[in-house]
Symmetry: none
Subunit: 140 residues, 4 copies
């Protein structure tokens, strides 16, 4: 039998708040998604002005980061032409996102969830995801 | 040019809270989805213990209620064998939900969004959706 | 080699106009789709106030009617529990619509296209589709 | 509550006409799609000879341009190997188009819809989309 550690809905609170605060600070309304360790959605917010396309992209970034236990930007590097994971971005009906902005949430060395951010540049999305993780970590 | 009224993210707050309060009162952890008037997701919460299948079902109930401007339980009646809309439940790749728990959110006679609830019985899902609408309305 | 007769874009004009006129007469803004004989879209209009869910449903009603060469309401009868085509409504990822409002367009006994209407009751959708066909026929 | 501006069906008229006129001028029959600000289809025309594959591509270019508020050719640059948004083209089940020919429609600095063109070269598609926007703008 396995015992799994998984984010609760209340754990998602500081992640959403941390993401929202950084998004407001840089002036980019974001879509923010938090999943559990299996990649299934726990919480989502589309800030006023977040992009419609980013609803799915944020959810799928969080899914990828949690379920593959890897930041989406690392997939971005590995998926370049000539690299080992080239073409992986169209897997799972396109749900495997290789653009920055998806991060696994790690507690005690174990992935317990994922966060995905979308609506800015990939760099902005990643910055906001990192701020969310920092806010979550400081409350642990 | 058309002018459209749409829920903001802050409008989604009392809807989520109203749903959560009723879900706790009846002891059924729920998936709660709020969409805008076009059926696109604004906010989502899966309460601890909410069903994984209900993630998509709650989102699609809210989508149906907003985008078709009709409670999902009314579709349920119209989609019975022998009734006029029989078979409509598999439309839009199965996103058109005809099970109770999806309600349009109406302000000044206009649909501005939708709420979808899933994880309980259809009757419980509808009760929680109605409680969310009541909580939203009392704050207007 | 086969020679196929197929609606042109200019043929779609009177179909759209006929549908729009009847939709306005009954006060129900509709989604109107016209396909060719293979079920591929030629023209589409969403009248102001047409439902978002009806975009796909109108297109898929026209697809079904043209590509299966059968009015969608006839499928509705054949798809009832206990009938021969029971369950057919979820075929083709749910694109096979069995609700009234899709009609093949027949010229000289041959299906040359399809029309699909959605946003009203199934009866209204069918009425508007029939009005479109009548408008098309009177201009032949 | 948010207030949103959105193209009406009558606004789509000059866009379709402008696109058609330029498509005829360059001798390339096109698929032409117009969406609202959320990326949902308002109007569509496949000119006689327009490609079947282009039905979906035109609709998805318009969806991308409106819902992400960005010309599709800008995504094309950002999605090149080694660039930040590499791999984004397979997102949303492949609906996020990064090929030229999709443009947001902007009125008073706000995206109110999108236009998508397909059947020519990407350069021709973009030229026709720009002609549609110009025709729309001159009628404002």
């Amino acid at each position: 039998m396995l015992t799994i550690n998984r984010l609760s809905l209340s754990d998602a609170g500081p992640l959403l708040e941390g993401a929202r605060a950084r998004a407001e600070a840089i002036g980019v309304p974001m879509c923010i998604a938090v999943t559990d360790e299996s990649g299934n959605l726990i919480a989502f917010e589309r800030m006023d002005g977040g992009k419609i396309t980013s609803i799915t992209i944020a959810i799928d970034k969080a899914f990828t980061a949690a379920a593959a236990r890897k930041p989406t930007h690392e997939y971005g590097e590995a998926a370049q032409p000539g690299s080992a994971a080239y073409g992986i971005n169209s897997a799972i009906a396109g749900r495997l996102l290789v653009v920055a902005g998806g991060l696994p949430i790690v507690v005690d060395g174990v992935v317990v969830g994922g966060i995905g951010i979308s609506s800015g540049t990939p760099g902005q999305d990643r910055e906001v995801a990192e701020a969310a993780i920092a806010a979550f970590g400081s409350g642990q």
